[in-house]
C-alpha cells in the first residue's frame, strides 16, 4: 500500500534521509521508530505530498505523490506532528470545514463530523472552541480531522508525543479501534513502548537510515530471546547470584551494577526459572526479584545503535541522577 524506494532528502548540508526503502502492506499498522531528528517527519511529509524528495521514488496505493498529488491526497489522512487544528473554531467547525474541503455537501460534512466526534468521545466538547481543549483532546480532534475523508491510508506523525501516560493509553485504544476499519496506518513514534503496543511491523530509523526492520517480536528475538534476570537483596550476594545463573544458562551472565541485577540468555524459560529457583532456595540467597524477561525495544535500540533512544522529555539534572528512568 505504501512503497518507498531509496528515498533521499537533503536540506542543503543536512542529510535528513539517506535512502529509505520500505514497504507497508494493506491493512497493516507500520511503525517508524526513531529518536528526535531521525528523519521521521521528513519521510511523512514526502509521502503526504508536502515535500519533494531529492531522489528516490515512493507510491501510495500505487500512485506517485509527486506525479498525481491530488489522487494521493484523496487517499490519505494526515495527522501531523503539531496538532494542526484551528484554535478559535469549535471542534465541530474544524471537522466540518475539513469535510467541505473534501467536497462533501453541507449535510454530509455535518453527519461525518457528528459521527467522528462521537467516536472520539468529544460530543460534549463539540461546540467549544478548540483553544479550551486539553492536550489530549486537541490530539483527538486532530486525529478526527484526518479521518473525515475516510482515508484508506492514515499517516500519524508522533500522535502521542507530549501526552501523559493515561491519555496516551486512551489514544492507543482509539487508534487500534480505527484500524479495525481496515485502513493502512503509518505511524511514527519515538516511544519504544508505543511501537510495541500498536505496530504490526516496524522499522527503526536513525540519522536518515533504516537500521532494523521486522515485527516487534522479531526485533527482540535478535537480542537472543528470553533472559533470566535475578537481583539479590544484599549487594554482597551478587557473586553468588552470578555463579548460579551460570549453571542454568549457556553463556556468561551480564551484570548491571547500577541496577544491581544479573541476567543471562536462556533457551527454555520455564525450566531455567524453576532450576534457578531451586538453586537459590538451596543456597539461601535472598532475592529482590527473579524473572524471565523478553528484551524491551529499548534494549533493541541500544544494541543496534549503541545509544539510548532520545526522547523529548527533559533529562534529569546530572547531579540528582540516581536511578534513570527506564
Amino acid at each position: 500500500m505504501i512503497e518507498a524506494d531509496q528515498v533521499v532528502k537533503h536540506f542543503g548540508d543536512v542529510h535528513a534521509l539517506n535512502g529509505i526503502t520500505l514497504s507497508v502492506d494493506e491493512g497493516e499498522i507500520f511503525g517508524l521508530l526513531g529518536p528526535n531528528g531521525a528523519g521521521k517527519t521528513t519521510l511523512v511529509r514526502i509521502l503526504a505530498t508536502l515535500l519533494k524528495p531529492t531522489s528516490g521514488r515512493c507510491t501510495l496505493g500505487g500512485i506517485d505523490p509527486h506525479r498525481d498529488p491530488m489522487a494521493v491526497r484523496a487517499l490519505i489522512g494526515l495527522a501531523g506532528q503539531n496538532a494542526a487544528v484551528d484554535d478559535l473554531l469549535t471542534g465541530r467547525e474544524n471537522l466540518e470545514i475539513v469535510g467541505r474541503l473534501y467536497q462533501l455537501d453541507r449535510a454530509e460534512a455535518r453527519r461525518r463530523a457528528d459521527d467522528i466526534l462521537e467516536r472520539l468521545s468529544l460530543t460534549d466538547a463539540a461546540d467549544r472552541q478548540v483553544r479550551t481543549y486539553s492536550g489530549g483532546m486537541r490530539r483527538r480532534i486532530d486525529l478526527g480531522a484526518s479521518l473525515v475523508g475516510r482515508p484508506r491510508i492514515l499517516i500519524l506523525d508522533e500522535p502521542t508525543t507530549g501526552l501523559d501516560p493515561r491519555t496516551r493509553n486512551e489514544l492507543w485504544q482509539l487508534i487500534r479501534d480505527l484500524v479495525s476499519d481496515g485502513a493502512t496506518v503509518l505511524l511514527t513514534t519515538q516511544y519504544l513502548e508505543e511501537a510495541d503496543e500498536l505496530a504490526d511491523r516496524l522499522a527503526v530509523i536513525d540519522l536518515g537510515h533504516i537500521i532494523a526492520e521486522g515485527t516487534p517480536d522479531e526485533l527482540k528475538e535478535r537480542l537472543g530471546g528470553d533472559r533470566l534476570m535475578a537481583s539479590p537483596t544484599e549487594p554482597d550476594d551478587m557473586a553468588r547470584v552470578v555463579s548460579i545463573l551460570e549453571q542454568v544458562g549457556a553463556t556468561a551472565p551480564y551484570v548491571d551494577d547500577r541496577r544491581q541485577q544479573a541476567s543471562i540468555p536462556v533457551t527454555n524459560r520455564i525450566e531455567a526459572l524453576l532450576a534457578a529457583g531451586q538453586l537459590f532456595e538451596n543456597e539461601q540467597i535472598a532475592l529482590r526479584d527473579l524473572a524471565v524477561t523478553r528484551p524491551s525495544l529499548d534494549d533493541v535500540f541500544l544494541s543496534i545503535t549503541g545509544k539510548r533512544a532520545e526522547t523529548d522529555e527533559p533529562e534529569p539534572a546530572a547531579a540528582g541522577r540516581k536511578g534513570r528512568r527506564r
Binding site: R45, A48, T49, L50, L51, D68, P69, M70, A71, R73, A74, L75, I76, L78, G80, Q81, N82, A83, A84, V85, D86, L88, L89, E93, I97, V98, R100, L101, Y102, Q103, L104, D105, Q129, A145, G149, R150, R152
Partner: protein, 286 residues
C-alpha cells in the same frame, strides 16, 4: 478527417491547470467537481473559516478601526486648517484618502494571518487535502476584503461627523466604495505574497508596515501632490495610491473620473496578476 483536429474537451482545459487535477471518484464518493467548481466552493469554505477567526478576535477589528478614526481626527483638526486643497472642504478631501490608507495598512493582517497559519502547521493540513490550493489564499484575501467593508463603513460614518458629504450622486458614491474595496482586495495579494515569503510572524509584523508608509504618504492621500518637491512628485503622481485616491475622490465629489479610474483599474489588475502569481508560486514551494 476528425483525427487530425484537436478536440477541445473539458478535460483538456483542466489538466495542467494551476489548481490541480480533479479528485478521483473514490469509494467514499466525494462529489466529482470540476477544478473551477472546486475552487469556488473551497474559496467559500476558506472564507468562512477566516471570517470566523475575525469574528472571534474582535480586538483585531477594533484596532483596525482605531487607527483610521485617529487619522481622521488628527489630520482634520491638526492640518485641516492649514492645508490648502483646491475647491474642496478638507473633510471631503481627506475621507477618500483615509479609506485607501486603511485598506493599505489593513492588508498587513493578511500577511500576518498567513504567516501564522504557516507556523502553526494548519497549512500542512490544507496542503494534504484534495482541495484547491489557490483557495487557501483566495479565501484569506476574501475574508480580509470583508473586513474592509466594515472599516470603510465606519470611516464614512466618522466622516459625516466631521462634515464629509457625497456630492456626486448615489451611483458614483457606491462605485467609489467598490473601487476602494477592489484596491484593498488587490493589495491583499501583495501582502499574501509577503506573508508566505517571510513565513515568520514577527518578521511579517515588522515588515508589513514598511511599504504602506511611503505609498500612502507620498500620494494625494492627505495633501495635493503638486505641493511636493519635484523629485518626489515624479513618484507620487504615478504610484497606484494616488490614482486610486484621485479616482475615489472624483467619484465622491465630482471632477475628472475617467483618467484616474482607468489607471486605478489597470493597477488593481496588474497587482492582482503579479502578486497572485507570485503568491501561488510561493505557496506551492512550501
Amino acid at each position: 478527417m476528425k483525427a487530425g483536429t484537436t478536440p477541445t474537451t473539458a478535460t483538456a482545459g483542466v489538466t495542467g491547470s494551476q489548481l490541480g487535477a480533479p479528485v478521483r471518484a473514490g469509494a467514499t464518493g466525494p462529489r466529482n467537481r470540476s477544478t473551477f467548481g472546486r475552487f469556488v466552493s473551497d474559496t467559500l469554505t476558506m472564507t468562512r473559516r477566516n471570517v470566523l477567526y475575525l469574528v472571534r478576535r474582535p480586538q483585531v477589528i477594533v484596532f483596525a478601526l482605531i487607527s483610521p478614526i485617529m487619522f481622521v481626527s488628527l489630520f482634520n483638526f491638526v492640518f485641516g486648517g492649514s492645508l490648502d486643497v483646491p475647491g474642496l472642504s478638507y473633510a471631503n478631501y481627506l475621507i477618500p484618502g483615509i479609506m485607501v490608507q486603511t485598506v493599505m495598512f489593513g492588508g498587513s493582517n493578511t500577511a500576518v494571518g498567513l504567516a501564522e497559519d504557516m507556523t502553526r502547521g494548519v497549512i500542512d493540513r490544507f496542503r494534504s487535502l484534495p482541495m484547491s490550493r489557490l483557495a487557501v489564499l483566495s479565501g484569506r484575501t476574501m475574508a480580509d476584503a470583508m473586513r474592509g467593508i466594515i472599516t470603510n463603513s465606519v470611516i464614512i460614518v466618522m466622516g459625516f461627523v466631521i462634515g464629509f458629504r457625497f456630492n456626486n450622486g448615489f451611483g458614483w458614491a457606491v462605485a467609489s466604495f467598490l473601487l476602494v474595496l477592489l484596491f484593498g482586495y488587490s493589495i491583499t495579494w501583495f501582502y499574501a505574497w509577503m506573508g508566505l515569503s517571510l513565513g515568520n510572524v514577527e518578521a511579517v509584523q515588522a515588515a508589513s508596515f514598511l511599504p504602506a508608509f511611503p505609498l500612502t504618504f507620498a500620494a494625494s492621500t492627505f495633501a495635493p501632490v503638486e505641493n511636493m518637491p519635484g523629485w518626489l512628485q515624479v513618484f507620487s503622481a504615478h504610484q497606484p495610491v494616488t490614482q486610486v485616491v484621485d479616482a475615489t475622490r472624483a467619484m465622491m465629489q465630482g471632477g475628472e473620473i475617467a483618467g484616474p479610474l482607468v489607471r486605478s483599474l489597470l493597477w488593481c489588475a496588474g497587482i492582482m496578476l503579479v502578486f497572485g502569481f507570485l503568491s501561488v508560486r510561493q505557496y506551492r514551494k512550501g
